[in-house]
Each structure stands twice: as structure tokens, then as C-alpha cells.
């Protein structure tokens, strides 16, 4: 055999490895699960919401209301502000621009009490008595002696203690926002390190920011995926050494799997701007499906001498590839990436194992162990009972649409988030995104939300829109205050007020200020969060969770809720998933009918039993989209074994061993995912463990005599 043919596989690996080395940095691997959800209004709302400064706040609290605690929070503020990366949002100094606006528009920003049933004399007398008889020092508003106006009730969830923001009964609070508006993980990392560095030596301090999830989860997910890849690789290597016993074949096999994985990674990096880190963990496991082709060819003796084309392996490959091809059309980037990765990887591995390896040639070594054990199994009864279990369990299945159950469960950070939310009484509240074509409309909508939702916090409802301005103007005119001015002057002097003290009461500037639509810049200068995105204006609000059903009555408002967003995304692709599922099941039965007609009970049990067990297990706990996706993969995987076992050669020594080793190796590839702390990967690992366990039991069987 020529040296070129012998080394072709290694050369291919070297080329792909070099390409990977050169281009790997151009592929952006992301740990953010939200980036890979289907596009839609909810996802867009989430992205817009991430531009508000309140979505990136850093909250720091020092325990206690003593001098030390106050000194500590002041030191923290000073140190962090000195870096110029953060901005203090909890300063109690009023915004000068807002103060000026408020002074000029006081009669339009306050509540109006038009009640004139009490005489002017009585009203002024009450004012005088308030000043002279209140035990505490009382000031009066010289511009409104008749008390027509009262400040709007401000729902300030945060208290002030000793001139500083306070977090419930815990201690002093400092709220900072990130100046950098780029929303990049690097920017979040800088802030995370800075804050933790400053707080390192301090005791009794608690800190939280929603941006910390991005930093901590990214690191933990990367560590988790690396751990899974390393664990799986070690397990597989040990297994391959044990099974294959031919070092030359082992090196070539690893080179083939690595070539397929690296090339698949580079290719999906060319298709998508961001590649999910989950694809890497999943992609590593996909290799265990591909190596089955090698096992069969190796144990059949295809690599020792020329043999006829192995149709069982081809059909096995075709069903798995076909399954992924069906789901690639589902409009869900994460599923698409996994499917495309799997398809490319499977094709490349299949081509090499089936066409290149026989050319290289490998001597078959006797494995350390042979798979002889078999017990009689009633495959027909198993298939029928499994089918019954599937039919009966489906109506009771409940799909868990909480996306957080798919992500990394960062318990310590979730605890801190709950602590702050409870203390600021934000727990039980849901953010809303309000959308409008103009700022005036945005203010009008904000006021609508404020009035319609009890206990809502809508910052922009502080302002008034054009129609409110016109209406208030009419109401003020109807009060005829100009006609009352001389009487006020006369009565107040009589009562003992300083002469001329109320000369500026109800002046023209306050009664009829000119209406100017607020600009985006001016609102931001006054400290309000408004975002302009693709011709629309956005702001935010907080409403009670119990009132979420009312949100649908307001088409301009959408809830910022990860669970709801995921649910909407799933709803959008539900018909595609359903169609994909039906096509996949039809495809499975078509393949069973075409290839295993004579052994239909035996072969179908490899699909039905794992499915039934997974569905029965799902009745006891959560059942997410990750479970469903893996269930379909395991169905496709099961049919491979159904096809292998349908072959008359299946009970021959080599074939049985190949089948047995391939299921053990799948367990090592996918099963390790069960050790993951990431919900989605754990679910996949769990499903694969159940499925491979069931298939293993079926493989130990033989038809009952």
C-alpha cells in the first residue's frame, strides 16, 4: 500500500487542524442561551430592554445603620466612582434639569383638587393654623395658597436613612449603573472584577447585578463544558483502547473524529455569527454516534479484506442523518446549530470510516472481551406494552417552558438576586417594555399603564403628554384663579401673613407654561431611561406578576419575562416542532418497514421501549424542549440498533460485539452529560442514559424460542 494512502487521514487531520488554528478566533462561541432562541417580538423586546441602564445596575448594601456602615458605603461609592466606569444612580441630589422642569410645570405635574366648596377664607385660615400650631416645623407653598395641587404619590420602593439610600432593614444601599453601553461580556467582566476587587476585604457587604450572571455563568458554563469534554474523551479513549486494541487504528479513528468535529465547528462558524457553547458539548458526543460505523466495519472485517457494501451501516447512517435533517428546518437557532453540526460531522466521519479506512487497511485484533451473553426476551410484548405506555403517558405530559431550567443554575447569585428583590420589594414584579412612535405617545402610554395597573412603577408617567396639557389648561382656566388673587391678598393680610407674600401665587408662567415636546436627550439629561431603536421609542415599567394577564390589553406593552419569551418562541415554532416530530416518526416507521419488515417487533422495540421509559420518567418531573429533542435523537439512535439487530448476522460474534461496544460508547459520549450543571445538557444526559440503558437490556436479549 502506498504511503500516501496510509497517511491520507493524518494529512487531512493536519490540514483541518491548521485551518482550525488559523480561523478559530473568527468563530465567536457564546454561552448566552438567549442568543440562540427563535427571533420574534419577545426576543427583540429583551434585547431592547438590555439597553436600559436599570437592567445593568450594580446593587451594593452594607449591613447596619451605624456610623461604620455609612462610612463603608461612602468609601465603596468613592472608590468605584473614581474608576470612571460606573455612575451613581442612588445619589439623593435632585437632578438640576428635572428640578427646573418640575418648578416650571408644577401645576401640570401635580394632582389637581378642584373642590371649591370650602371658602377662600377657611382655606387660608387652615393654612395659617397649620404653620402656627403644627408641633413640627411646617413650610407652605406660596404659589398655591388655596391648596389646589398636591404632589403625585411617588411609589419609592427604596427608603432613605441618614441622607443615604437604605435597603429595607438591612443597611445602606448604593445603586450604580455601568457607563459603557456596549453590552459586551468584556465590559461586564471589567465591572465584575472591579467591584469584587474593591469588596474583597470588606465584611458584611452584599452585592448583586444582573450582569454578573453573564460573567459567572459564562465561566461556569465554559468550565462545565470543558469538564464534560475531558471526562467524555478520557472515558472514550479508555474504552477504545480496550475495544480496538489496534493503536494505529485508534490514532486514525481519533484523527477522523477530530477532523469531523473541527471542520463542522469551522463550517457552522461560517454560517452563524455566534456558535453556542452547548454545540461543543453536544458535538463531542455526536462523535460517539459516528464511531459506530467504524466498529461495524472493523468487527465485520471490512478493514482487513474487501467486502460488499454494508447496507445495515448505511441505513443506520441514513436514519440518523435524516433525523437531524428533519429538525434543521425548525426555526430555532440552537437546534439548527446542533443539527447542522451533527450532520456535517456524521457525513465526514461516515465517508472516512466507510471509504477511506478500508483503503488504509487495519488488522483486526481480538478484543479483550466478547459479548456472548443473551437472554430470551418477548420483543413483541415489549413493543406492544411500550406502545401502550407511550399512548397513555402523552396526555399527562406537561412541557416546562421556563428557559431558566435549561440554563446554568447559579444558585448563589440567584440567592443574592432574591435578597435584593425582596428588600426593594421588586420580587413578584415583572418588567414591561413600552413602545411608541413618538416621545409624546410614550409618555401617554406610560400614564395609561400607571393608571391601569395597581402598584405599577412607571418612571415616565412623571411627565404629561400634549392632550393632558390641553385638558389641564382648560381645568385651570375653569378655576378662575386670577379673579381670586385680590381676595387672597386681602384675606392673608387680615389673617396675619406678611404683605405681598402671595403676590406670585397662580402666576401666568405656572398657569400657562408653553408646551414643548421633550426630546430624547432632555429626558436622558433628567435621568430617565428611554431608548430609540429603529424609529421607535421605548421605556420601561414594573407591574405586579398577578396582573400580567392584563398586559395583553395594551398592544404597546410587552412583558420582559424569560419564561414568557421562551413560551412565545416555542409557540411560534410549535407547529414546526410538531411537523418535525411527525415526519421523524413517519421516517422511523418507514425505515423500519423498509429495512426490518421481517423483524418488525424486535426492531421497533429498540425505538418504543426507550421512548416509553423516557415519557414515563417525564411524568415524574420536568419535561423540557431539551428532553424532547434528545428523545427524538434517541429514537433515531434506537432504530440504528433495530436495523443492526434485524440483520441475520447480528448474532454472529463480531457483529454482536460491535453493537454492544457501540452502545457502551454512546453511553460514555452522551451519558456524561448527566453530570452537567447546565439544565439543557443534564436533560440530554438523563434522556440518553435512560435510552442507552433500555437499548442495552434489549441487546442482551434474543428472540424467545
Amino acid at each position: 500500500m502506498k504511503l500516501g494512502t496510509k497517511t491520507l487521514n493524518i494529512v487531512l487531520f493536519a490540514i483541518v487542524g491548521t485551518l482550525f488554528f488559523v480561523y478559530q478566533n473568527s468563530v465567536h462561541v457564546s454561552t448566552n442561551l438567549l442568543s440562540f432562541l427563535p427571533e420574534g417580538k419577545s426576543k427583540e423586546a429583551f434585547e431592547i430592554y438590555s439597553h436600559f441602564k436599570n437592567s445593568k445596575e450594580v446593587l451594593i448594601a452594607t449591613e447596619g445603620f451605624d456610623k461604620d456602615s455609612l462610612a463603608k458605603i461612602k468609601t465603596i461609592e468613592e472608590k468605584l466612582l473614581a474608576t470612571e466606569l460606573l455612575k451613581l444612580e442612588s445619589g439623593i441630589t435632585p437632578n438640576a434639569k428635572l428640578l427646573e422642569y418640575t418648578k416650571n410645570n408644577a401645576f401640570y405635574l401635580k394632582n389637581l383638587n378642584k373642590d371649591d366648596s370650602v371658602s377662600i377664607h377657611e382655606k387660608l385660615k387652615a393654612l395659617y393654623e397649620k404653620m402656627t400650631h403644627n408641633p413640627y416645623y411646617t413650610t407652605i407653598d406660596a404659589s398655591d395658597p388655596l391648596g389646589y395641587f398636591s404632589p403625585k404619590e411617588q411609589k419609592m420602593p427604596i427608603n432613605i436613612r441618614d441622607g443615604h439610600l437604605a435597603l429595607g432593614d438591612f443597611g445602606y444601599l448604593c445603586v450604580l449603573s455601568i457607563k459603557d453601553t456596549s453590552n459586551t461580556i468584556e465590559s461586564y467582566e471589567t465591572i465584575y472584577n472591579l467591584v469584587h476587587q474593591e469588596l474583597k476585604s470588606m465584611q458584611n457587604v452584599r452585592v448583586f447585578s444582573p450582569t454578573f450572571y453573564f460573567v459567572e455563568n459564562a465561566q461556569k458554563i465554559q468550565d462545565d463544558v470543558t469538564f464534560l469534554i475531558v471526562l467524555s474523551t478520557i472515558l472514550l479513549l479508555v474504552l477504545y483502547i480496550f475495544i480496538i486494541k489496534n493503536i494505529y487504528l485508534l490514532i486514525n479513528t481519533i484523527a477522523t473524529l477530530a477532523t469531523s468535529a473541527l471542520l463542522s465547528f469551522l463550517l457552522i462558524g461560517m454560517i452563524w455569527s455566534e456558535v453556542s457553547v452547548f454545540v461543543l458539548a453536544f458535538g463531542n458526543a455526536i462523535g460517539t454516534l459516528a464511531i459506530d460505523y467504524m466498529f461495524h466495519y472493523y468487527f465485520y472485517g471490512h478493514y482487513e479484506r474487501k467486502k460488499k457494501f454494508n447496507t445495515s451501516v448505511f441505513y443506520g447512517f441514513l436514519t440518523t442523518f435524516g433525523g437531524f435533517l428533519i429538525f434543521v428546518w425548525v426555526d430555532f437557532p440552537l437546534i439548527q446549530q446542533v443539527c447542522v453540526f451533527a450532520m456535517i460531522s456524521l457525513v465526514l466521519s461516515y465517508l472516512q470510516f466507510v471509504f477511506l479506512f478500508p483503503l488504509i487497511g487495519f488488522k483486526k485484533a481480538q478484543p479483550y472481551t466478547k459479548f456472548h451473553f443473551s437472554i430470551p426476551l418477548p420483543y413483541r410484548a415489549i413493543a406492544l406494552l411500550s406502545l401502550l405506555a407511550i399512548v397513555l403517558s402523552i396526555p399527562f405530559l406537561h412541557l416546562d417552558t421556563n428557559i431558566k431550567n435549561l440554563d446554568y443554575q447559579n444558585a448563589s447569585l440567584m440567592k443574592e438576586e432574591k435578597f435584593f428583590k425582596d428588600a426593594i420589594k421588586k420580587e413578584g414584579y415583572m418588567p414591561l417594555l413600552i413602545e411608541a412612535n413618538s416621545i409624546d405617545q410614550l409618555i401617554a402610554y406610560s400614564n395609561t399603564i400607571q393608571k391601569s395597573f395597581k402598584n405599577a412603577t412607571v418612571p415616565l408617567s412623571y411627565f404629561f403628554d400634549k392632550s393632558f396639557y390641553e385638558q389641564r389648561k382648560q381645568e385651570l382656566d375653569a378655576l378662575h384663579v386670577n379673579e381670586k388673587k385680590s381676595l387672597i391678598e386681602e384675606e392673608t393680610t387680615k389673617l396675619g401673613f406678611r404683605e405681598g407674600f402671595f403676590k406670585n401665587a397662580y402666576n401666568e408662567a405656572l398657569l400657562h407654561p408653553s408646551y414643548q415636546e421633550l426630546s430624547l436627550e432632555r429626558l436622558r439629561e433628567m435621568g430617565f431611561d428611554v431608548v430609540f431603536h429603529e424609529g421607535k421609542y421605548y421605556t420601561h415599567a414594573l407591574v405586579k406578576n398577578s396582573e400580567r394577564s392584563l398586559v395583553t390589553n395594551f398592544p404597546f406593552a410587552s412583558s420582559i419575562d424569560a419564561k414568557e419569551m421562551f413560551f412565545n418562541a416555542l409557540e411560534k415554532i410549535a407547529h414546526q416542532l410538531l411537523l418535525g416530530g411527525i415526519v421523524a416518526i413517519a421516517f422511523i416507521f418507514f425505515m423500519l418497514w423498509m429495512v426490518c419488515r421481517k423483524t418488525i417487533a424486535l426492531s421497533s422495540s429498540f425505538v418504543l421501549l426507550p421512548t416509553a421509559l423516557i415519557l414515563l420518567f417525564a411524568l415524574t418531573g420536568t419535561f423540557t424542549i431539551a428532553h424532547i429533542f434528545m428523545l427524538f435523537i434517541m429514537m433515531l439512535f434506537g432504530i440504528d440498533y433495530g436495523i443492526y439487530m434485524s440483520s441475520e448476522d447480528s448474532f454472529k460474534d463480531g457483529t454482536r460485539s460491535a453493537i454492544f461496544f457501540s452502545i457502551i460508547d454512546t453511553f460514555a459520549g452522551f451519558g456524561v452529560l448527566i453530570f452537567s450543571d447546565i439544565g439543557a445538557l443534564h436533560a440530554m444526559g438523563l434522556v440518553s442514559c435512560i435510552a442507552t440503558g433500555a437499548i442495552l437490556v434489549l441487546l442482551m436479549g434474543r428472540k424467545s424460542e
Partner: protein, 160 residues
């Protein structure tokens, strides 16, 4: 019932701490008039209790930025944060008594000569206050003069 509880709390706080007699003079610019009040002031660990005896009997308890007013008609609670001038007034008294320089430094530039301290308001305090002067005797607050931007003035003289 609540009134009785409040009375008991007040009596206990008087016994538990040293109550000082004081005289408060308020000059109200709007009326161009002085109002004089007298009574006892008591500093607790967390609160300040002021019992006015003249011209009328009333008890004020300042606790966690809330002011409870108790008289023969019952009691009412006022959120001090809604009245910045009054809030500063209590905050200054409490900070001076607790020797909380961090708190005072947040709102004032202090200049001390002997037992006299002049506090120049800064930042948000400067929006409301014009000048604050206080004198201490043996570290204890002796007198406090607050000049408010609207022309009002408050003077408190603590006797023992």
C-alpha cells in the same frame, strides 16, 4: 390602645435616657412672627423624642425617618422624607448627638472654632438650607441655629 402603648414607650424612653429641657424659637418669614416652644428632648439609640410642654402638650418621636406626633386627639405618622426641611433638622440633631461626622460631611462643610461649629450646606442640603450653626458644651449639643432658604429660622437651646 395604641395611644397608651405610645405613652408607655415615651415614658420608658424618658427614664432610660437623659432628658434635657430645651427652648425652640421658630421665626416664620411668611408671618413675620416668632413662635416659641418648650419641652424635653431625649436621645435614644435609634430615636429622638421631643416632648413639648408649651404652648401645648405634644410628643414627637423621630424614628427611621418617620415622625410620630401624639397629642390629646390621638397620634399621626408623618413621613419626614416628604418634608426636606424638617428631615434635615432631625438629621442634623441626630448626627451631632451621635458624633456622626460621616453623615454631617455628606451634606455640610464644617468649620469649628472652639465649641462653635458652622456648617455650610452643600449639594442637596444647599437647596433647602442657608446656614447652620451649632455649639457644644462638653461634647453635648448646647444650641442649634438653622437658617432656611425661604427666610425662616429655627433656634434650639438645650439647657441641661
Amino acid at each position: 390602645m395604641k395611644v397608651i402603648v405610645l405613652c408607655l414607650v415615651f415614658m420608658l424612653s424618658l427614664f432610660a435616657n437623659d432628658a434635657s429641657t430645651f427652648k425652640e424659637t421658630r421665626y416664620l418669614y411668611a408671618l413675620d412672627k416668632n413662635i416659641t416652644l418648650e419641652g424635653f428632648i431625649t436621645f435614644g439609640e435609634q430615636n429622638i423624642v421631643i416632648e413639648y410642654t408649651k404652648p401645648e402638650s405634644k410628643v414627637l418621636t423621630y424614628f427611621e425617618e418617620k415622625l410620630t406626633i401624639q397629642d390629646q386627639n390621638g397620634y399621626q405618622i408623618v413621613d419626614a422624607q416628604s418634608m426636606p426641611s424638617m428631615n434635615y433638622f432631625f438629621m442634623i440633631i441626630k448626627a451631632v448627638h451621635d458624633e456622626n461626622s460621616v453623615l454631617l460631611d455628606s451634606f455640610f462643610d464644617a468649620k469649628t472654632e472652639g465649641e462653635e461649629t458652622q456648617l455650610s450646606p452643600k449639594g442637596v442640603a444647599a437647596e433647602v438650607l442657608e446656614e447652620v450653626r451649632l455649639s457644644r458644651h462638653a461634647k453635648k449639643l448646647k444650641s442649634l441655629h438653622v437658617k432656611i432658604k425661604n427666610g425662616d429660622r429655627i433656634t434650639i437651646e438645650i439647657r441641661n
